[in-house]
Amino acid sequence: MSVLVFIPHIQENPSKAQVELLTYSAHIAQAQNLPLVLLTGQKISLGAYGVDKLVQLANLEQMETALLAMQTLAKQENASTIILGWDDFGKALAPLLSAKLKAGLVAGAISLPNAEGLVQKAVFSGKAFVSIQIKTAIKIIALMPNSVGVQTVAEKNTAFAELTVQTPAIRVRVVNVQKPEHAGISLQDAELVVSAGRGLKAPENWGIVEDLANALGAATACSRPVADAHWRPHHEHVGQTGVAIRPNLYIAVGVSGAIQHLAGVNNSKVIVVINNDSEAPFFKAANYGVVGDAFEVLPKLTAAVKAFKNQ
C-alpha cells in the first residue's frame, strides 16, 4: 500500500502551497507507515519533503491525461490514500477521480485526518465546519491551500520512476488563455491580502490600496459592488459569489462587511477592518479595527509598514 500525491508541475523550489501539500501527505504516510509516492511532471529530488518515490509523466496539466495517470498509478502503487491540492485543477480532477475509483473524497480539506480518520472542511460558505468520514477503502483528500501549514517530516531518499499511459481521448481543448497585463500576486495563494470596497469612492483612488499591498507584499482584492461597477477586475472579487480565500491576514478598507462578503473571507486567520463608520458590521468579525478615513489611514499604515520592513 502507499500514499499517493499529485502535483502536475513542480520546480526545484516548490511553492508554499506545494510544500504544504507534500508535507501533509508525508505526515499521513508516516502515521500509517506507508511510502509516499508523488506523481508529477518533473524529475527533482524532493526527499526533504518526505517523498519516497517520484513518478514522472509529461502533460499532466491536461485533465484527461492526469485522470488516466492517477487511475493507473493508484492501482499500480496500491494507494490507500490519494491527496491533491484543492486548487483550480484539483477542483476538477479530485471529483473525477473519486467517481472513477468509487473512492470517497473530502473536497477542500482543512485538517489532517484525526484519530478516527475524520477530515474537516468548511461548509455553509465558511460559516461552519463539518467532519467527514470516508467510507471507502481508498480515501481521497483534496487539501485547501494555506489551511494546515507546513508539517515537519522525516527526510527520505527519493527513488525515481516513469509512468506511461495511453493517450486518452481529448474532448475539451484549450483554444487560448488570455493573461492580464499586470499579473499581481495570485489571490488564492496569497498569505496577505489588502481588500477595498465602495468606501474608496472611485477607481482612480486605488493607488493607496496598491501602495499598502506592495509594501506588505500582499495581493489586492475587492468587494462585489466594486467589481460589478468595473472599478476592479472580477477576479479580485472575494465573497459568496466571488473567490473564497483564507489568508493569514485580510485587511479590509471601506468594506461594510455584508454577510455575503464575510462568506468569502471569514476563515482568514487575522482580519483588520478600516472604516470611517464605527457601526460597520465588519468590525464584529475583525481582530483589529481602525475607525478613520481611508484616505488618511492608509498612507500612514503604508509608511508604518515600510518603516517596519526597513528595521
Partner: protein, 247 residues
C-alpha cells in the same frame, strides 16, 4: 438541443447557521430555503437562453424529498419545460451524481448543467462525478457558454485573472460560475404556467454514498475587535507582528 439542469435547495444566505442533536444536524427551524443561486442564476438561465435561440427543451432535476418541490416549481416558473424529482435523501455528492447519471442514461440530453457549487456544502463535486460516471466531457467553472453544431465554446476564469477559452465535444457536463447569465425573476405568467407543467417523481436508483457528514462545528467566535487609534498605525503594525504574528 436538450438540456438537463440539476438544481439543489440551500439555506438563504442570511440564515442563522446552528446545529442540533449534538452537532450532528443542521437546525432547519425558521430557515428559509432557496434555489441554490449558482444553479438558478447561471446554469438554469443560460440553458433557457440557449433553448430560446436553438430550440429543444430544458428539464430541471433534483435529488431530494417532497421539500424540494418548491424549488422545482420555481425553476418551472422561471421557464423550464419540465421537472423531475428523484425521491431520495441526497446522501452525499457521489450518491446524488449516480442518481442524475442513471436518470440521464435513460434520456437523450446533449448538455447537463450544474451550478459550480451549492452554497451549503461548497463541494464542487456533483458535475465532475456525473461526467465521470457517464464518460462525458466536463468543463468546470465556466463563465460563458455558446453552442454550435458539434462543439461548445466556453470561457473559464483561471488563477490571477487569466481567462481560458475552451472547446468541448457533446455530450457535455458543465459547471456554471458567475458571469454565465443574469438572474431572471419569474413573472406572474410563468408562476401560473408552472402550476400545470409536469413534475415527475421517480423512485431512487441503486447507488451508495462514499462519505458521511459526521458532525458540525461553528468557527471559534472572534474574541472581540481590538480598536487602534487612526493616528497610531505603528501600533497596528507592532500588533500584527508581535501579537498576531502575521507579518
Amino acid at each position: 438541443m436538450n438540456f438537463l439542469v440539476c438544481i439543489s435547495k440551500v439555506p438563504d444566505t442570511t440564515s442563522k447557521i446552528e446545529f442540533v442533536e449534538n452537532g450532528t444536524k443542521f437546525n432547519e427551524e425558521g430557515v428559509q430555503f432557496i434555489l441554490n443561486p449558482y444553479d438558478e442564476w447561471y446554469a438554469l438561465v443560460r440553458a433557457l437562453e440557449l433553448k430560446e435561440t436553438l430550440g429543444g427543451s430544458v428539464t430541471v432535476l433534483s435529488v431530494g424529498k417532497e421539500d424540494y418541490e418548491p424549488i422545482l416549481r420555481k425553476a418551472l416558473a422561471i421557464g423550464a419545460d419540465g421537472a423531475v424529482r428523484i425521491d431520495a435523501e441526497p446522501l452525499d455528492a457521489y450518491f446524488v451524481a449516480e442518481q442524475i447519471a442513471q436518470y440521464a442514461q435513460t434520456k437523450s440530453f446533449d448538455v447537463i448543467l450544474v451550478g459550480k457549487e451549492s452554497i451549503q456544502h461548497n463541494g464542487m463535486q456533483v458535475g465532475a462525478m456525473i461526467s465521470a460516471i457517464l464518460d462525458w466531457a466536463y468543463v468546470p467553472l465556466a463563465t460563458s457558454l455558446n453552442l454550435a453544431d458539434k462543439t461548445a465554446t466556453l470561457t473559464q476564469d483561471q488563477t490571477a485573472g487569466a481567462v481560458a477559452t475552451l472547446q468541448a465535444d457533446f455530450p457535455l457536463v458543465i459547471s456554471a460560475s458567475k458571469g454565465m447569465a443574469e438572474q431572471r425573476i419569474p413573472n406572474m405568467k410563468g408562476i401560473m404556467a408552472a402550476r400545470t407543467k409536469p413534475l415527475e417523481v421517480l423512485p431512487s436508483f441503486s447507488a451508495e454514498a462514499l462519505t458521511a457528514f459526521v458532525g458540525y462545528e461553528l468557527p471559534a467566535a472572534k474574541t472581540g475587535c481590538k480598536m487602534i487609534d487612526a493616528d497610531n498605525m505603528q501600533e497596528l503594525v507592532r500588533l500584527l507582528h508581535q501579537e498576531a504574528k502575521v507579518i
